[in-house]
């Protein structure tokens, strides 16, 4: 199977490539809705917490008096082992290096990446992988990463963050 990345765009510049025979231009038949002037949120307004994208099935709800249920390391490793790293258009020699349970506030400091928009104490599974990972980016973006990471909300199983890293992070269990 041939995998490719294509983009269409406007405003300043965009690159696009067409593979295959079905490259037929179409014109939209639908009348567009009337645009509305953008009202900016008031200064300091805050949006809702992130819930991520569907990934691992959520654990069963805990019984009253029991600690909240969480997905297990086995759940995380099984999922990551059986699914492509999201967003990669190519991934080879993939190997799971670690699966570590940390509080959300530790994720950004360990990875050196922006904070996930949930509470600081939210438990997260951080999975670090090695291999050769190619992600899609804007036109002319080209990079192969030696490390990839996937971060899951331990309570919901939702995927909260993923991507490629040029250098290995240090992740310590809480």
């Amino acid at each position: 199977m041939r995998l490719s990345s294509k983009r269409v765009g406007a405003v300043i510049a965009a690159a696009a490539v067409c593979f295959g025979a079905a490259c037929v231009q179409r014109s939209p038949a639908t009348k567009p809705p009337k645009p509305v002037p953008i009202v900016r949120p008031p200064p300091g307004a805050v949006g809702i917490a992130a819930t991520g994208a569907a990934a691992i099935a959520a654990p069963q709800t805990a019984q009253p008096g029991q600690p909240p249920s969480q997905i297990t390391e086995a759940d995380v490793r099984a999922y990551v082992s059986s699914h492509r790293v999201p967003g990669t258009i190519q991934a080879t020699n993939v190997r799971i290096l670690s699966a570590t349970l940390v509080a959300n506030q530790q994720v950004s400091s360990a990875l050196g990446t922006p904070r996930i928009d949930v509470s600081d104490q939210q438990p997260m599974w951080v999975v670090l992988l090695s291999g050769k990972f190619t992600f899609s980016g804007p036109p002319r973006a080209s990079a192969v990463f030696p490390y990839a990471v996937e971060v899951f909300n331990a309570r919901t199983g939702q995927l909260m963050q993923y991507g490629g890293l040029g250098r290995a992070p240090r992740i310590t269990a809480r």
Partner: protein, 201 residues
């Protein structure tokens, strides 16, 4: 920009509608590139036999192509079915912090009311953006689908000044995905930044 979110079907990798604020190789050719992006995405979590869900996201690439480079994406949450069915306009803004040049804020909000949906930020996204891009990105080999999505109030922000796009820029379309300025609605023909469309496949 504002966008009418649609229900995307990812096929075997992903499809999205989005905007990028890009630093193309500054300060000189050969330098790494960096960017911040936001929009709606359907990245198939199953890839083979599944369709995934359409969710809001933001992402960034920093020093992309250099040894210390990073690319990270943050799925934020599912797009409301009512926003899709009603063709509601959702605004996406990427803006440099006025006092912290390396910080870029990403705001996703209801365009008509200003109600924020998500407010995110990258505090270490040091870059000198020189390009704005919007449109659809498709990765994969089969089964992706995307109904018509529209982009309008296409604008650039410099400091506290917002300038609505008046030039027609450069349009490319791979067919698939399909894209272009809606007839009679180029930025040079309107006062609202034009009406761009995408669809697939």
């Amino acid at each position: 920009m504002e966008l009418t979110p649609v229900s995307l079907t990812s096929g075997d990798i992903f499809i999205d509608d989005e905007g990028w604020l890009i630093d193309y190789f500054s300060p000189s050719p050969g330098s790494a590139m960096s960017w911040v992006e936001t929009g709606i995405d359907n990245t198939n979590p199953i890839y083979y036999g599944g369709t995934g869900t359409t969710y809001y996201f933001w992402a960034y690439g920093l020093n992309y192509g250099s040894p210390g480079g990073v690319f990270m994406e943050y799925p934020l949450g599912a797009v409301s079915p009512s926003d899709i069915s009603h063709g509601n306009w959702i605004a996406f803004e990427i803006k440099q912090h006025p006092k912290k040049p390396a910080t870029y804020g990403v705001t996703i909000s209801e365009a008509a009311s200003g109600t924020p949906l998500y407010t995110e930020s990258c505090a270490s996204c040091s870059m000198t953006p020189n390009t704005i891009l919007e449109g659809q990105e498709l990765a994969g080999s089969s089964n992706a689908q995307a109904p018509l999505a529209f982009f309008s109030y296409n604008s650039s922000i410099a400091g506290s000044t917002t300038t609505i796009q008046s030039g027609d820029g450069t349009v490319t379309a791979a067919h698939p995905p399909n894209a272009g300025w809606f007839p009679g609605n180029k930025p040079s023909e309107t006062s609202n930044g034009g009406m761009f469309f995408t669809d697939c496949c």
